[in-house]
Subunit: 191 residues, 2 copies
DNA sequence: TACCATAATGACACGATGTCAGTACCTTCA
DNA sequence: TGAAGGTACTGACATCGTGTCATTATGGTA
């Protein structure tokens, strides 16, 4: 299982085979099935380990602690950091999910949990008048979370990894603009 | 090849097998290799058909025709519409890409093309003073395009499809806010 | 030492892939 | 008409990864 993580840092998920994996251990291939149902079972286990870590790091904004825009930056920073450390695992999950009914379910529950949390934060701040009440909280939450997942996996899911600072800035800008900015008036074109 | 599209509307990509596919045709399994290198080759062919259509539909904003915010909505509408019609194909591409070096390349070139176009539109409008010059054009373009892809595939990649109007509104809001809105002042919390 | 549960293995059957040598078919031209 | 030659197609095969046996080691317990 450590061996799997090691593998994913070096190779793509598509090259991950049970035989190859167990070659790195003193055990034989069938021994694998002692511990996991199949490859997807392994990935599922990896997700539940690393996924928990990630949720911790996002507390500030999720729980509405302090000034929202700064708190949001803190939360995003934590999420980025988690991906810097465990990017390949998330990448493997997202790539393996479409191949397995069960894993797909698990992955979508994981993302759904984020949607739940972000949605309820948005609704809370709509009540406080910080966010426009005309935003469809659930859809926006889902969009922003999907964006995070896609971008983070693309940037940190394999070596060489992207620049954490730049990615954080980008995500933060999109989140803040989407949630907290006033709609602009119509724009004049220069045609 | 029509048969493949038909299949993808009904089943998941993971269940698509060459044998199954050719069962729908009067031909035998090996005949498949007459036309495509392998499954991924087929998917690649599907993408280049449908991808071209999609680029057409995004012209207004990409080419800076008319008032930007309205043009952007037109372009996004076209893209949404394409996905309503061909969603499962894009889904198959995105799911198959991680499994094949070549296809992954093709897919990332396809997305890169969008990034190029959006980036240069952003830069043009930065010169016109419509968009803040402090935005990193390339990164923002990439983020917004990634968002589109993820959301559209999730909403229209399989039956039952989502609500095109609602998805369009969501995307449009995020794009407009990200590109055209002024950053808000610091927010007071109600703690 | 005898016993049992658990861990681990070698050998197997299966399913999907991709290839190849061979056959059917169809056009062209004498 | 009928031989030649190219193309479309096929049956059979080798390969590879998977998942499951029946069986054997191993380590703790009385």
């Amino acid at each position: 299982m450590d061996s799997a993580v090691r593998f994913l840092w070096e190779h793509d998920f598509r090259d991950l085979t049970i035989g190859e994996l167990m070659g790195d251990t003193p055990l034989s291939r069938p021994a694998f099935y002692q511990y996991f149902k199949d490859l997807h079972g392994l990935i599922e286990a990896l997700l539940s380990e690393v996924g928990a870590v990630m949720h911790q790091t996002a507390h500030p904004w999720i729980n509405g602690e302090g000034e929202p825009i700064a708190a949001l930056r803190e939360s995003l920073k934590g999420v980025v950091q988690t991906c810097v450390h465990h990017g390949p695992v998330f990448r493997a999950v997202s790539e393996a999910a479409p191949l397995d009914e069960r894993l797909e379910q698990t992955w979508s529950e994981f993302m759904g949990l984020w949607d739940d949390q972000v949605e309820s934060r948005i609704k809370a701040q709509q009540r406080e008048g910080l966010i426009s009440k005309s935003l469809p909280a659930r859809r926006i939450a889902n969009a922003l979370n999907s964006l995070d997942a896609t971008l983070l996996i693309a940037e940190f899911g394999r070596r060489p990894q992207g620049d954490p600072k730049a990615v954080l800035d980008t995500l933060h800008h999109v989140w803040v603009a989407t949630l907290y900015s006033q709609p602009p008036r119509k724009l004049r074109t220069s045609n």
